[in-house]
């Protein structure tokens, strides 16, 4: 034991030195001439889409690195308005106060819709009772007033069995959280807090698959990737039960939980040829990109609007 401690004491600073050196080399000017980087951050929902766009783009542009972070829509805008990123993924439109910060920093941007999403409510495979939930029932599960009091499925609907509710959902930095709370609880950010909040949708997948009474929500693409281990709940927004799907999201029938997804492009960044090329690629190949990332493609009208927005860059 003693000898292994000594070894680790010796190894640790060495590792630090090596990593530190690695860092400086990468940032060196000699490299930036060869490869360029497009920095994207923001919504974890939109991230798989922009990552897919990046991968497809790199087929013909191997010298461009596209890095996609998942700080959440709000977190992404903070970096975007600080000039740290070129493109910000967003699962909602930019808020006024965020736009004001961007304006103060002199960051001008263009908003482009890139796909549709259907916020999907998922339950455990063993959950045979909750096939369809009304918005009121979802609100009963998630409203701030339910904190600590609504803890069992039989409180949601009396015909439901006596199984403890185990809730997973988006973290507060996420656009998904803002959107879900607004549509379900009527006020952005209004949510009970005694659930597992996470920016990482995989944690929600893990939690709900591991718990019989589990319930969580995230973007449709994560559900499509995990269809074999999770069940999606149909949503009754007042006009009958509707399952989340590409068609119901595009047509808006999956109400109120379907929404468009956006990217925000900094005009300064778009002056760089690789960023401009990437955006043009993103907009013109929307069908291929959404198909690769398992998103709902834009409708024809949405596509022409996106092309028009990209043309202003």
């Amino acid at each position: 034991m003693k000898s292994s401690w000594k070894t680790s004491l010796l190894v640790l600073p060495l590792t630090l030195i090596v990593t530190a050196c690695g860092g400086t080399n990468e940032a060196g000017p000699s490299d930036s001439a060869a490869t360029t980087e497009i920095r994207i951050d923001g919504s974890s929902t939109v991230a798989p889409l922009s990552a897919a766009a990046g991968e497809l783009f790199r087929v013909d542009n191997p010298n461009v690195n596209v890095s996609v972070g998942t700080s959440g829509t709000g977190g992404g805008f903070e970096k975007f308005c600080a000039g740290e990123t070129d493109i910000s993924n967003a699962s909602r439109q930019i808020k006024e106060e965020e736009a004001a910060i961007c304006a103060d920093a002199g960051i001008e941007y263009v908003e482009i819709a890139v796909a549709n999403d259907a916020l999907t409510v998922v339950v455990n495979k063993e959950n045979t009772w909750a096939t369809c939930l009304t918005v009121a029932e979802l609100s009963k599960i998630w409203s701030p007033a339910s904190e600590g009091s609504v803890t069992n499925w039989n409180q949601v609907r009396s015909s439901f069995p006596d199984v403890a509710l185990d809730l997973y959902g988006a973290g507060t930095d996420s656009g998904t959280f803002d959107y879900f709370t607004k549509e379900i609880n009527g006020e952005e950010g209004a949510s009970r807090t005694d659930y597992n909040p996470t920016e990482d949708d995989n944690v929600t997948v893990q939690g709900v698959t591991g718990s019989k009474g589990g319930l969580g929500y995230f973007g449709f693409s994560y559900y499509e990737e995990n269809m074999d281990v999770l069940n999606a709940v149909q949503i009754d927004g007042g006009a009958g039960c509707v399952a989340p799907s590409s068609e119901s999201a595009q047509s808006g029938a999956y109400a109120p939980l379907s929404r468009p997804l956006f990217i925000y492009v900094s005009k300064t960044a778009a002056a760089r040829s690789e960023v401009k090329a990437f955006i043009d690629f993103y907009v013109t190949n929307d069908d291929a990109i959404t198909a690769k990332a398992l998103f709902v493609p834009l409708s024809t009208e949405q596509k022409s609007a996106a092309a028009a927005a990209a043309a202003t860059l």
Partner: protein, 302 residues
Amino acid sequence: MSDFSLTSSSPRNGEKIVKGVLFASAGFSVVITVGILWSLIAPAISFFSEVSIADFLTGTRWAPRFEPASFGVLPLIAGTAWTTFIALSVAVPVGLGVAIFLAEYASKKMRKIAKPVLELLAGIPTVVYGFFAIEIFTRVFLKEWMNLEIGAFSVLSAGVVMGIMIVPTIASLSEDALSSVPLALRQGSFALGANKMQTTLRVVMPAAISGIAAAVVLGISRAVGETMIVSLAAGNRPNISLNPLEGAQTMTGFIANAALGDSRVGSLEYNTLFAVGLILFIGTLIINFFSIRLVRKYRKAY
């Protein structure tokens, strides 16, 4: 004394350099410690100018990132205490058992095999332990074999696996302590007619108690500070509950989670991280303080 001068006749430049380097290293670690402490305290002070210390320490609702925000840190302290307690109830008996076996009962050959294996356990990265907790311990052991009604994240799973992680620490340090008890004590005990078990438990263990206590305290510190296992396996729902099958968030789990998201530097949310960090720091300091006193009180020098 004055007849002899210990200073050399010729200047020893090499020695001066070595002295300087050693002084710099000592100074470096002090400066770093003070720097860490300061970087904890400064944001924590601005946190406590907005949130009262009483609310922070006695509140039972932890929701700093929600509207309306609430800053009762007790759920996090409860999470840390619970996981630490479970970890130690695994690690102390098992670790001590291993130590006694290795020090008193194992053959030389057995020791040669068992010790490296045990130290291998200490070399496993905690993220691997965390993954093991979710995928194997919870899913296979607790659910399929024990048939427990348990979610994906639980204090039990995180605590037990953390206990397994701490076993080598406690075992190795306790074994050192037991082995350093002089043979004469054992011989005396045998001579008085005690058997091996009596000798081990009533003579060797009490003689080694300061080392064993130090091992346990180091185990506690590791459990309190452990981050990866708890943030992976205990979930991230702040929770005060005595049910070990429920998930909970610990102080370290909160810091890891909140630091990943985006808190604007200087915002209340950001300062929250440091306030929790400070509590963690003070907690560990108190543990260390008492452990040093404990060790001094029971220390026997041979």
